[in-house]
Amino acid sequence: MSLQDVDRSILANGGVKAEEYLQRAGAKLRQWLSRYGLLAAFLVFWQAASSGGWINPAVFPPIDAILSAMWRGVFGGALLDDIAISLQRSGLAFVAAVLVAIPLGLFMGQVRPIEQALDPILQLFRQTSALALYPVFILLLGLGEASKVFVIFWATLFPLLLNTISGVKEVDSKLIEMARVYGASRSTVFRRVVLPGAVPSIFVGLRLSATTALLLLIASEMIGANKGVGFQVMNAQYNFQIPLMFAAIFILAGLGLIANYALVFAQRRLCRWSDVSI
């Protein structure tokens, strides 16, 4: 028995035969199926149900009709503008929410009096619907981009804020004590202990908020807009252009999925330490 044999692990990379390639492809396929099988099945079922007439194809158009509407919209260029302006609105709101919620959450989670003072009013705000308050926002911010971005920001703020506060509170107090003993300033404790410790929770908040930012496009582009993916959803619905409506919804969902997996990926990169031994 020998211990502590520190040797470089050598990647065995000999000639791979055709069989092996096949086997590997099979394994890849199985893996893909176990991940995306359900999703694929859902889409196949939809297509079959719609074109087979089990569900009303006027309300649930077949996937191919949706895709062709999307294709025409995107490559005809019509929807590209919508996507650009919507991304700008959501992006601004999301960035603003991040810039407000994370520092505020870090503070509120750490400093009890601040939390006590801010909590009631923030909770009240949280409970008021951005949708219902839209007239109020228009009054204060006008019909332009500001009110749209603000409506989205408003709804996007709270999932992130709540998750950040909770994440901060769950950080191991022993580590904070350790940092304090070594003379870390409050901001250093935040940066080096509290923030990394709250990362998983903050990322849940980020993922919820990113989704909210995109979903709120529909509500915020209901007023004072003539462009945007959310506008297209409601406008297509109003004019009963269902494939176009679904195309716009799918585009929103696609953007949401991209944002979600980008955040999941970012979290994995940041938290590589947590599965170093795998």
């Binding site: 194809p57 007239p135 007023i223 004072g224 807009a225």
Partner: protein, 307 residues
């Protein structure tokens, strides 16, 4: 009311602060003894929600603006347009307002201005396009933004838009704006579109086939109620106030109501639909020549006779 053995109940969605001819007919008792009964199952906040309800079988009467009706049928729903629920004429029209001190005086001035409309791709949108075209301006010369009815006045007065287009069906909002004063009308949609229907009540074709009598009575009595309201506008407003109060809404708003804007007998013309079929075909959302107005309209003995 006499209960005939084949009583048919038609479910429908009401709309905030407004009324349809069939609701009047029901309230006036026109359906009594004809085996037709209406049932309000809730509200729709504009848009074609009722068409989805109709497709799902949750309601039996849908109603929506003409392009939505055409699209819903074109996309495979087996619907028929029963009768026009509203439209524009000399009494009922959509008006384009500006603030009193605005430099905008006529259609020529609207180029480059911001106009609030309730939705794009529909009646007001095309009224503006026609207006611009009639003056030799490009159709997209004005900047349209969507603003729901309740916020129209607010956005005009706070100068967030230059022009507020108040739809002919938004009588209460129109009344409020006029009451509060300080605004000026620059043109209306009849100037450019002439008389045309704006939206239709829609029935499912299988429903019509199953209950032809009820469908015919529904259309005839609704038309009769529309005629009554045109001939007795004061009584109609009083009745509307009563209905609104009964529904728990604001009956005081009934005084703004101007009528349905329908032809006598709630008659539909081919142009009511063909105008929109043309628009949709030009936009490419309808295949060329596939739909004709006559395919979409419900033919009852009454409406056939009126044609």
């Amino acid at each position: 009311a006499a209960q005939s053995p084949d009583q048919v109940t038609l479910r429908y969605l009401a709309s905030h602060g407004s009324i349809s001819a069939h609701e009047f007919a029901s309230e006036l008792g026109y359906f009594d003894g004809l085996g037709v009964k209406l049932e309000n199952v809730g509200y729709a906040s504009g848009g074609p929600e009722s068409l989805f309800g109709l497709a799902s079988g949750s309601v039996d009467i849908g109603s929506a603006a003409t392009p939505a009706v055409i699209n819903s049928i074109a996309s495979g729903n087996d619907f028929v347009a029963a009768y026009p629920t509203n439209g524009i004429n000399e009494e009922v029209k959509s008006i384009f307002y500006v603030l009193e001190d605005s430099p905008i005086k006529s259609i020529e001035d609207i180029a480059g201005k911001t106009i609030a409309v309730n939705t794009l791709g529909a009646h007001l949108d095309y009224a503006i396009r026609e207006a611009l075209q009639s003056k030799g301006l490009p159709q997209n010369a004005a900047n349209l933004v969507t603003v729901p009815g309740p916020q129209l006045e607010q956005t005009l007065r706070s100068k967030q838009v230059d022009i507020a287009a108040v739809g002919y069906w938004q009588a209460t909002f129109n009344g409020q704006i006029v009451d509060h004063g300080g605004v000026r009308a620059i043109f209306d949609d009849t100037d450019v579109l002439g008389e045309i229907a704006g939206g239709f009540a829609v029935l499912r074709r299988d429903f019509v086939e199953e209950h032809p009598e009820a469908a015919r009575n529904f259309v005839e009595q609704s038309a009769r109620a529309a005629d009554w309201s045109r001939e007795n506008p004061e009584e109609a407003r009083a009745l509307l106030a009563k209905i609104l109060d009964k529904r728990g809404e604001n009956g005081a708003l009934a005084k703004h109501w101007t009528g349905f804007g329908l032809r006598p007998g709630a008659r539909a013309t081919e142009r009511d639909l063909d105008f929109w079929i043309g628009v949709l075909e030009r936009e490419g959302s309808l295949p060329q020549g596939k739909f004709k107005a006559s395919d979409l309209l419900l033919r009852t003995t009454a409406s056939a006779a009126a044609n």
